[in-house]
């Protein structure tokens, strides 16, 4: 996936150039036959993928951070710089990937755009227990997911009587009635400031 602000094999432009030209040793990515200027053009294009212009919000970043870990309870599900939950996306560099308006929409209407890799599932075991969480993996015979308390579950499908997938439903609540308008501004400002590890 190239539409991310940071590429795992190419943290800087020089490295990205070499990756395109020489491929990645030990993987299936081959070297290219492009000219030097063509490689630079491809590199420049790849660099534009997944990035947004700096987010802007009138809110207070510091207060936003306090709400994120306190009243909002966001850290229970989201990680920043290695700390937090794993139910939702890692927000360490969310300010690099989402504009302020998108962040605000996600806070007010989380179900409007649920990433496929955070699909909500509900399973019922043959002995009648129900578990809900965010899917991690699924194959023909098994399913794994993480529940709201970050607990990992793994089931063979023959242990289950029902599996319900809810692609348009987010486990995240709407913050419309949880936060004030000013508090929303603060959280958006804080999220917009997250540009990755210092």
């Amino acid at each position: 996936m190239l539409a991310v602000p940071r590429l795992s094999h190419a943290p800087d432009d020089q490295t990205l150039f070499r990756v395109i030209r020489e491929g990645i040793s030990g993987t299936r990515m081959p070297a290219s036959a492009l000219t030097t200027s063509q490689v630079w053009q491809v590199a420049a294009f790849v660099r534009t993928l997944g990035r947004v212009e700096g987010s802007k919000s009138s809110g207070d970043q510091r207060r936003g951070q306090q709400i994120f870990v306190g009243k909002g309870g966001c850290a229970k599900c989201h990680t920043i710089a290695g700390h937090g939950g794993a139910i939702g996306p890692d927000l360490t560099d969310i300010g690099d990937r989402r504009e302020a308006a998108e962040l605000r929409t996600s806070l007010l209407d989380p179900s409007a755009s649920v990433p496929l890799d955070f699909l909500q599932v509900r399973v019922v075991t043959k002995d009648g227990h129900t578990f809900t969480g965010v899917r991690i993996n699924e194959d023909a015979f098994s399913i794994q997911f993480r529940d709201l308390s970050n607990q990992f579950h793994s089931f063979w499908k023959n242990e289950l009587s029902d599996i319900v997938k809810e692609p348009k439903r987010s486990i995240m609540p709407s913050y419309q009635s949880i936060l004030t308008a000013a508090e929303l501004d603060d959280v958006v400002a804080y999220l917009g400031s997250l540009q990755g590890r210092p």
Partner: protein
């Protein structure tokens, strides 16, 4: 461990924490594998016996996991609380669900171009402490990952990869610290062993394995040769909680294979070090191969043993060395007790009463080429031995391979090879290998199981009376721990470059090993 119950509801995995006390008592939970060698004593032994000499014939593949790179897959996993944690080359980590073998999370490291590693961009494993995993990377960083998510807690530079410092070793977590070694002695690094605060990543101590002027041992280096003296620390050591000593082997002096410009014994290269775990201060050292010009790294796993020896209880360390000798030392003092040849060698006519070798001056690299046994990959290497307390045998894979060593020259340039010999095959001679069972008290071979070519696989012995190992041709096999008789084998289709381990999941015992690009779990149906 018949009768062990898994007290979990089906499907629910309890992500636990692994405090120091739990690692200290690893023997009380034989269904898990909490450190690189299974315990601080580094026995590489499993007390599980559900798979045993009676039913191993029915061993079959339970699941496989495939990696996406073609580098050597040298991982030794950690297993606890329903999850397995493996490293993937070059410096990645994946958590696997024990029930299904499916990945739970992955950490994919962003590596700079130009990482320099002599012998493959590999990684051998992880350490765990509390709620964090610790990974050393080939660009010479130490990284702490959240156990539940694989997300980065902290990431610190251990050394500069552009000068060919790299990390391939599995760290060892002790108390509140993470011990990690370094590689790069083919490039003139100055070796060290480091400890980092597990919570913050701040360096707690560093022991340089090549002493600076004014420090004891610097007199064993001529001129400024200590500055590029090598002595790396790229295989995980052991820990004795009672004496609070960390035992860690060191590798070759630099320049490798040529010693003209580093006259002297070149301490602490090719040695076993005993360091205080809190301060990193040296308690004692034992140098196996002084002034090495044959690449006789002592980067092997030291095995700690408390036993009656020559009429009295002693605290010992057992060490099967790359130089072809098996050693027993007193681990409180470093006193040499046993040194027995366990593979073909011609570089020494034997050891004196203090364990110092008497060198054969004909078996050193020369312009016309010298015949040397073993070659510079050694008889033992990084792959782990295993000690079985029931048979009292020390199991070691052995490489029977010599070489014609032709002397060249070496000049230091940061980040470039700093070696003074080329290896050529011996005409008409086919190298081979063997899994050998050594009497731990004497080092004498009790039995051997021959394999076609010199192996790069570690050894696992189990309470089921079995010893597991593998070959470069892809055979994974089990032999009777008492006799060496072959009881089971499977052709995996990929060379085996790793240490097998064993664990328990839902009351079933599993054996796991990597082969080629596959990670394979084996079990027997009940």
């Amino acid at each position: 461990m018949k009768g062990i119950l898994v007290l979990l509801a089906a499907g629910v995995v309890l992500h636990g924490q692994v405090p120091y006390d739990r690692i200290l008592k690893a023997h009380s939970e034989p269904g898990n594998w909490l450190t690189y060698s299974g315990d601080y004593q580094a026995h590489g032994y499993s007390a599980l016996d559900l798979i045993n000499t009676s039913n191993v014939v029915a061993l079959k593949v339970a699941w496989m996991y495939q990696i996406g790179t073609t580098h050597h897959f040298e991982t030794t996993p950690l297993v606890f609380d329903g999850v397995m944690y493996i490293t993937e080359p070059p410096s990645d980590v994946t958590a696997l669900d024990l029930r299904t073998g499916r990945p739970i999370w992955s950490y994919r490291r962003s590596l700079p171009k130009g990482v320099i590693v002599c012998c493959g961009q590999v990684n051998r494993g992880l350490a765990v402490l509390d709620d964090q995993l610790f990974l050393g990377t080939v660009d010479a960083h130490l990284v702490a990952l959240d156990l539940r998510t694989g997300r980065v807690r902290w990431d610190v530079e251990v050394a500069d990869y552009k000068e060919a410092y790299s990390i391939t070793v599995a760290p060892l977590a002790i108390k509140d610290k993470v011990i990690v070694g370094i590689a790069g002695a083919e490039y003139g690094i100055r070796g060290f062993l480091d400890a980092y605060d597990a919570k913050t990543g701040k360096r707690a101590w560093r022991f340089y394995t090549v002493p600076a002027p004014g420090e004891p041992g610097n007199e064993t280096w001529s001129g400024d040769s200590w500055k590029t003296g090598g002595a790396p620390t790229w295989v995980t050591g052991a820990f004795d909680p009672e004496s609070n000593l960390v035992y860690w082997g060191t590798g070759n002096p630099s320049p490798d294979m040529i010693g003209d410009d580093r006259k002297g014994d070149n301490l602490y290269s090719d040695s076993l070090l005993a360091l205080d775990a809190d301060s990193g201060k040296l308690k004692w050292h034992f140098q196996f191969t002084p002034h090495d010009v044959l690449d006789m790294d002592a980067n092997q796993v030291p095995v700690l043993l408390d036993a009656n020896f020559r009429g009295r209880p002693r605290k010992l360390v057992l060490f099967a060395n790359r130089n072809g000798f098996y050693y027993v030392l007193d681990r409180l003092t470093g006193e040499f007790l046993v040194g027995t040849q366990f593979a073909k060698q011609n570089w020494t006519s034997g050891l004196d009463e203090r364990g110092r070798p008497k060198f054969n001056t004909a078996a050193v690299p020369s312009p016309e080429g010298a015949l040397v046994y073993p070659d510079d990959d050694g008889t033992a290497n990084w792959f782990s031995p295993s000690f079985d307390p029931k048979t009292e045998l020390f199991y070691q894979n052995v490489r029977e391979k010599g070489a014609i060593q032709k002397r060249t020259h070496a000049s230091y340039e940061p980040g470039h090879l700093f070696m003074g010999a080329n290896r050529l095959p011996i005409p008409g001679e086919e190298p081979w290998g063997a899994l050998r069972a050594l009497d731990w008290r004497t080092g004498e071979t009790r039995w051997e199981f021959r394999v076609h070519t010199p192996p790069w696989c570690g050894v696992l012995s189990t309470a089921g009376g079995l010893v597991f190992s593998g070959t470069m041709e892809g055979d994974f096999f089990a032999v009777d721990a008492s006799t060496g008789k072959l009881l089971w084998r499977l052709q995996t289709g990929g060379a085996i470059w790793s240490n097998p381990i064993s664990y328990l999941s839902e009351s079933k015992q599993y054996i796991v090993v990597s082969a080629g690009t596959a990670f394979i779990a084996f079990s027997v149906d009940r």
